[in-house]
Amino acid sequence: MHEILNAINLYKSYGGVHALKDFNFSVNESEIHCLVGENGSGKSTFVKIVVGAISPDEGEIILNNHKYTSLTPIQAIHEGIQVIYQDLSLFAHLSVAENIAINSLIAKGKNLINKHEINQIAEAQLKRIGISLDLSMPLEELSTANRQLVAICRALSLDAKILFMDEPTTALTKVEVDRLLSIILELKQRGLSIVFISHKLNEVFEVADRITILRDGKKVGDYKPYELDYKKLTYYMTGREVEYPRYKHETSNNKPLLEIKSLTKKGNYENISLKLYPGDILGIIGLLGSGRTELALSLFGLNPPDKGEIIIDGKPVNISSPLDARKVGIGLLPEDRQTKGLFPKKSILENITVSVLNRISSNFGVVNRNLQIELCNDAIKSMHIVAPNFDTPIQSLSGGNQQKSLVARWAITSPKIFILDSPTVGVDVGSKAEIYDIIQNFASKNVGIILITDELPELLANCNKVFVMHNGQIVAELSEDDLKEENISIKIQDLMSANEKSLHQNTKD
């Protein structure tokens, strides 16, 4: 098979710390090569070297039989390397057609533009991946999934030979992921090579021809998918056996902590009723847009419901702001920690203790720094947060450690009810298990947990009760015994995506 990219003995270090050590990586024609590893394992360092954003300290890269010791971005593009970044790097206010065509127009050195030419380029690329979009629509009006397709078209328009995709499925629903994966397989059939970087191991197994595992900047090995299974892959990535702890509901208390009666918010969710007991980990599973996040935000006072009742400890309450929610003992770990949870530039100390500043300050509002540090250090220890010290800006931590810090922020307020919305998105496997451990620990101390997720393994490992949501409604309620059934996974999948296929057809055009 014809080799297009061959990276040999790459070394890169930052201030004495090896980000990449003696790394070899090759890509063949029409191959999907998956690159997996935990956060900080060196994946993005490698991508940066290949696209010419940084130069390696040692080693060489052979692209289409041209040898380079370091690349410039333009050289990388000319050799057919294209990257689809996680943030997509698109232009929100430009049209779909312009977003697709703009890079190739720049590459061709155009000075004047011609609408006809732009539309032609865009149409040709959309046709290649077999979809149709309104070319004149501003990009900002597109769904995340369609924006991703626009980014792919843009990369293809530059005669890409190798497409790097960095965590492309993070913000997509199941159906959208399936569509993306089938497009990727289709592109491979036509001779394109793809380097697929992902945390989601099931997707890796679905598309990979070859899997390369990175750990601490070093390559663990190249594998064929059939040589690996979920457990082995996890072991190679983390260097240890990761077993998700299975939650057992042990406390028995028949007074519900939280009761929701026929809660309705028009256009979001309808007629939701549920009861949460102390020690429950109640799972709510549903696809993006099923109403799961909308419901969680309502309980936290951010998305006031139109109708229905919320009862806490037997008393009806009115929650119309996050402040109200906190007063009645509700905590929320938001879906998107980057924009809704973290103060990225602030220290771990400030991020964790921000929730209790009232409690640890004097009557005049002066914060007791010793108490603050003590609280923070306790949290760092009990949550196993790995960080140089408590003054480190939180944005420099890995996803898993950021998330653990946010959990800690709520933990020190000792909430009665803790809602976690997709707590392990962008978190590596090792940290995942630790976060599950923390959640289950909470529950065993009689906190009521609501866990919102679209990952089945996560749900099954943690929950003792599950509600399946679809189109704003609860379509099934599963008890602890139901969850022990053998083919429960398939059952839940079906419930989640009922009618989803036909719905998708309609929204496509």
Binding site: P73, I74, I77, Y85, D87, S89, L90, F91, A92, H93, L94, E98, I102, N103, L105, I106, A107, K110, N111, L112, I113, T293, E294, L297, L302, N303
Partner: protein
Amino acid sequence: MLKRLLSRNETYLIVIILIYSIIVGIKNPAFLSYENFFDMLRASSGKLLLALGVLIVLISGGIDVSFTAIAIFGGYASTKLMLLTKIDNLAFAFIISASIGIILGSINALIIHYFRLPTLIATLGTSSVFFGLMTILVGTKSINAGQMPSSITNFSGARLFERIAPSGNTYGLSAFIIPVILAIFITWFILYRTMLGRGIFAMGNSEESAKRSGFNLFLIRFFIYTYVGILAGIMGVVYVAEVRWVNPISLVGSELSIIAAVVIGGAKLTGGEGTILGAVLGIIIIQLLNSTLVFLGLSSSWNDFFVGLILLISVSITSYQYRLKSRRNLTFSD
């Protein structure tokens, strides 16, 4: 079609302008005369030139507050040079003034690019520097109508065509419209027909993405600020001709009202958005208020009040629409 029209800021501005004009016209029929219309057009020519520059800067995600200093520098220095050298030629005035604009604008661009300064801070600084430089190099003495070079005076009174009003006054379309129309056409061409224009929009959307796409941010920035400089330089001469009297300490201080007009026209301070039509309509609204409060029997002190009010209303409406949109996307930033 109607939905698309209703979602556009410009539609509302046109409706506001029409309703307001009808109200003023009912109160005082003299307002709805050709004579008054041509007068207002002449008076807004300079502002339109400046607004086009402001528009481009806002689209690129920056903000420039030094353009009035550049305009008065250019207008004052070129007039003074005409008197000094006895070259009484309008083209000479425009060339000198525009060249001063190019030099000062490129200083802005270089400072912003090489020191990676926020554009507001950089131009706030250069605005003072330019103004100070002018008072040191050229002086601070006013030039009155009697001393004005005759080519400027001729330009001031030049009309493309003339009519005689029933009152016996002659009126007509001022020649000031020529540089304005040219500038509108060139700006439109650059923004919508060149890669440079797409680069300006792209940069305003996201600088990082524009860089990754391969745009040369330095060239784009250099163009933007020198173009603003050229427009300001040309405006300087139009301004001198309009008032036929140069007071070097005039003009500086009015930059915020031009920026306000362009923002009323729908350009966003966050970059990436804005239209020429919007900017023109914004200036029309400001000019209407400037010159019609008298027709309504209100003192000109109300002017600032109304400009501010309209600015607040228009940005509040856009912000509210944005919030509704974010709610649908489940972002609750309030």
